[in-house]
């Protein structure tokens, strides 16, 4: 019997199995941000165990509230900053160099095929796009990861999606993952890894694969995984070129992190997604999904383009191509948050920032802020937001507010119309 990619990664990282179905794995990366890490740090200090297992494998960023909005968030940043300095954690991204964790860490080449990654953030599943096993964990798992470089998991049962056909113009990875979550429901993948495979994935950029894997958790999945291929190698090449003579060598090495043809799956789903329409959520669960056509005309007050799901350069290019030479509706306000300083710089050079500004968008610094209602775009009671983020929970972006999840294209079209609208109406 063959093995899935997750089983192969487990086999290569297993320290031991202290109990049945308890796999303690060695970690290649422990990612940290200022919301869930400070309590781990203060707890380690209180226990007299203020140590880190390997400062080169720990990466940290201030991203949720940045620059600090008040004394409490300033203190969280300070705890993380002082800790990074104290332990010689060189890859610490402070204000000015910081971006949304799941955008900046891949961008810096920190994730490689076959890696094990944890972070105190549920959207850590994003990094599976590189053929890694990446899981969101709580602060205690993070604390042990920081201290010992290990984490315990159950056996990674896997479900596989084979996605055939070609996505239509105006239909993106975000529409695809909303469709998949609708099919799986919000707990359809609980305790499982989701593999995304097939011709649709083969032609997807790393950015789109990250969008897809990012929302695996919204179906309860531990990690979303795409197989490493030439696209993965091209994306990573600037970071790995000293390790390999050629890209072919790198591809050959990384190809060990692909599931065997006779691997065993919990379930295999196969779809032809050629006729998939742009999708959008209603209600307060990410599996409450309809086509944009069914939701056209729904009232919105704010448009938000950004986040670890859809704040990458590809997303800004798509949104800007729709907004170019147009104005947002007088009925809405619109915010765009490039997810990292590099994305911001490229968007500036390509003239995208000017397009957003001329259209009436507020362009913020890179931050998670509005997605979880912490800063930079909190909703008022009764308001609705057309958002490229990943969670539409009740009050997620502000108490009493509603969130409609959608692609950057749909969000851009909705900003122009002032209500939920279909992007194919506009030239994409």
């Amino acid at each position: 019997m063959g093995k899935t990619i997750a089983e192969k990664i487990f086999d290569a990282h297993r320290v031991n199995m202290p109990f049945p179905d308890t796999h303690v794995l060695k970690l290649d990366r422990v990612f940290c941000h200022e919301i869930t890490t400070p309590i781990a740090i203060t707890d380690l200090m209180a226990r007299g165990m203020d140590r880190v297992f390997d400062p080169s494998k720990i990466k940290a960023v201030i991203d949720h509230v940045t620059p600090a909005k008040d004394s409490k968030t300033a203190e969280q940043g300070k705890i993380l900053r002082d800790w990074a300095k104290r332990h010689g954690i060189k890859d610490f991204f402070d204000i000015g160099r910081n971006g949304v964790c799941h955008a900046i860490f891949p961008e810096k080449g920190f994730v490689r095929p076959g890696y094990t990654v944890i972070m105190g953030d549920s959207h850590t599943c994003t990094h599976g796009a590189f053929g890694a096993f990446a899981a969101g964990v709580g602060t205690t798992d993070l604390e042990v990861g920081i201290l010992k470089g290990v984490c315990a998991f159950h056996f990674p049962k896997t479900i596989k999606f084979v996605l055939n056909g070609t996505l239509k113009t105006g239909v993106y990875a975000k529409d695809l993952i909303l469709f998949i979550i609708k099919e799986l429901t919000v707990n359809g993948a609980t305790n499982m890894v989701i593999e995304f495979t097939g011709p649709v994935i083969d032609v997807m950029s790393m950015e789109s694969r990250m969008t897809l894997c990012n929302m695996a958790i919204e179906a309860g999945g531990t990690c979303g995984i795409c197989y490493p291929d030439k696209t993965t190698v091209d994306y990573l090449w600037e970071f790995i070129k000293d390790e390999f003579n050629t890209k072919e060598d790198a591809l050959k090495e990384y190809s060990q992190w692909i599931s065997d043809a006779d691997a065993s799956y919990e379930k295999v789903y196969e779809y032809d997604v050629t006729n998939l329409e742009p999708m959008v959520t209603f209600g307060y669960k990410p599996d409450q999904v309809k086509s944009v056509n069914e939701m056209t005309g729904t009232k919105i007050d704010q448009v938000y383009i950004g986040s670890c799901t859809n704040g990458r350069i590809e997303d800004l290019r798509i949104a800007a191509s729709i907004i170019k030479d147009k104005k947002i509706s007088d009925d809405v306000r619109a915010i765009v948050s490039p997810a990292t300083p590099d994305i911001y710089s490229v968007a500036l050079k390509e003239g995208l920032i000017e397009i957003f500004q001329k259209a009436g968008f507020c362009v913020t610094n890179p931050t998670c802020g509005a997605c979880l209602g912490m800063s930079n775009g909190v909703l008022a009671n009764g308001e609705a937001c057309a958002s490229t983020t990943n969670r539409n929970f009740n009050g997620r972006m502000g108490k009493g507010g509603t969130v409609h999840l959608m692609s950057p294209a749909t969000a851009a079209a909705s900003a122009i119309e002032g209500k939920i609208s279909n992007s194919p109406l506009y030239k994409v």
Binding site: F19, T22, T36, I79, V137, T190, N394, G395
Partner: protein, 174 residues
């Protein structure tokens, strides 16, 4: 080891997410105690009165997929500082479930028919539950009845409960 017995709060809904258990705006707190006043304040559940209903409770009984969403351990902490160390549900989100055990708390899964039975026979009454960790029994008591229900958790989970969490165990063993 923590206390695993006391009055029951019945939450008759599936998919109660971590934003409902403790909203993100309170994640700027750096002590667990500071989360105490805000447990479940955004819970969307008809008839639920956050101030009265949480008071004096030690155990939650609820439906499927409890704790879905964010990885925030602030959710179990907010329960803990309110004296709730046990959640019994049909199922849990993975991260929340692990976070509970990592803190030395119980997240116990029971089959749908047992959860249904608890709701039918005990919700709305003054019900108490205590966990017999050595014999894998949930002891349910109300004014007019008392019974035992079997439960199963993994050896790892039980060890974490007995050791008071993952940090102590990991420090000794890794």
């Amino acid at each position: 080891m923590k206390e695993f017995s006391g009055k029951v709060l019945f939450l008759d809904r599936s998919d109660i997410n971590t934003d409902e258990i403790i909203p993100a705006k309170y994640l700027t707190e750096i002590t667990k105690e500071a989360l105490k006043p805000n447990l479940l304040e955004d819970l969307s559940l008809t008839g639920f009165n956050v101030k009265d209903d949480i008071n004096d409770k030690a155990v939650i009984v609820t439906r499927a997929n409890f704790g879905c969403g964010s990885s925030r351990e602030h959710a179990p902490w907010a329960l803990e500082v309110n004296g709730i160390n046990v959640v019994i549900a049909e199922s849990f989100a993975r991260i929340f479930r692990q976070n509970m055990y990592n803190c030395g708390m119980f997240s116990i899964e029971l089959p749908n028919d047992k959860i249904e039975y608890l709701f039918e026979n005990y919700a709305g009454k003054d019900t108490s539950i205590s966990i017999d960790i050595d014999n894998d029994k949930i002891i349910v008591t109300s004014l007019d009845q008392s019974e035992e229900i079997d439960f199963k958790v993994g050896e790892f989970d039980k060890t974490l409960v007995k050791e008071g969490g993952w940090v102590g165990y990991a420090d000794k063993n890794y």
